[in-house]
């Protein structure tokens, strides 16, 4: 039983590390910044989960499970926010390769907003409220 659990821990830890490797490969091979954000957010969440499960089994203690669950929950909450902030600012600067996109439905809106006069009050037209 002990040996079996140890093997399980080893497999989980290695799989978790493999996810980080995949994220690294993704960062290198994807063509532009926005696509790279996919590699920077998704595999880690799974990698974290696998490493945490491995740790929980390895330590064989119930007391660490809330801490690990908390850390994973925080990862779930923060990874999308950072991806969103980087993507949002990257889109509005030269870093996003917008020409390589197949379609871009945000461009119209951003152009419209940035061509509006900079005042403190933003008018919301009636047809947009519906």
């Amino acid at each position: 039983m002990e040996v079996f659990l140890d093997i399980l821990v080893a497999v989980l830890l290695i799989l978790g590390c493999l996810m980080s490797l995949i994220a690294g490969i993704g960062l290198l091979t994807f063509p532009d910044m926005l696509t790279r954000m996919h590699a920077a957010t998704k595999p880690q969440v799974l990698g974290f989960l696998l490493i945490f499960i491995g740790l929980a089994i390895h330590l064989r203690s119930w007391a660490v499970i809330p801490v690990l669950a908390l850390a994973w929950g925080m990862q779930l909450l923060t990874a999308p926010v950072s991806a969103h902030m980087i993507g949002r600012s990257g889109y509005r600067t030269k870093h996003a390769a917008k020409d390589s996109l197949y379609a871009d439905e945000l461009k119209l809106v951003v152009d419209k907003v940035s061509s509006m006069p900079a005042t403190g009050v933003i008018e919301v037209p009636e047809e947009e409220k519906k």
């Binding site: 957010t41 809330p66 801490v67």
Partner: protein, 210 residues
């Protein structure tokens, strides 16, 4: 300043446009999920869930929410635990699929990967559902949120692996499906009824099959 007795959607637009710096304070009744979370964080970090530590956690979290007030998170007042469990299990499965998809694209496609930015108007009025749908979207295969239009509940997503109009339509359908699951789990009664109306009487069965 207009009176603050408005419909939820107008209230949200008013919040977004409000530059006076005065925020609506949350009441203790609205804030209990945050309090529960803070107590859990406290106890988890001490690795001690004994009554004495719980009481001290309550005191610390009350001090925190009083000193650092947040604007209220408007809950819908309806929650279906069974759908929540279903959506969580489905979500864990999707996290595995997401990593597999990124790995496949990174290794076999690399530089040739095409993607697109799509706009998805959501049905819901609720900030909470827009936020959770955005979070789930970012963690499951294919998409992450670039921008949000709060007044019309529109998400602007970067979608990976988009090469045709059909791909775009499929992506939009997938997002609307996630929103449907979210509304079934935590949406308000009105939105839940609208979803039931849209999907017909076979709501449960459709859910089970997908």
């Amino acid at each position: 300043m207009p009176t603050k007795n408005m419909q939820p959607r107008d209230q949200r637009i008013d919040d977004a446009l409000d530059t006076s710096g005065v925020r609506h304070r949350a009441t203790l009744k609205q804030e209990w999920p945050l309090l529960a979370l803070l107590i859990f964080v406290w106890c988890a970090l001490w690795q001690d869930f004994s009554p004495a530590n719980l009481i001290f956690g309550v005191i610390v979290s009350l001090v925190i929410v009083t000193l650092f007030p947040l604007p209220p998170v408007v809950l819908s007042g309806r929650i279906n635990i069974w759908y929540c469990v279903q959506i969580f299990i489905w979500f864990i499965g999707q996290v595995f699929v997401a990593s597999y998809q990124v790995a496949r694209l990174a290794i076999f496609r690399g530089k040739k990967t095409r993607s697109g930015v799509i706009a998805v108007p959501l049905r819901t009025d609720s900030d909470l559902i827009v936020t959770t749908v955005g979070h789930v979207l970012t963690l499951i295969p294919g998409s992450f949120v670039i921008d949000v239009d709060r007044s019309s509940s529109t998400l602007y997503l970067h979608y990976i692996n988009i090469e045709s109009k059909q791909d775009m339509e499929r992506a939009r359908e997938a997002v609307r499906d996630i929103e449907r699951r979210m509304i079934m789990a935590i949406g308000s009664h009105g939105e839940f009824d609208a979803i039931k109306h849209e999907c017909g009487p076979n709501l449960m069965r459709m859910k089970g099959k997908k």
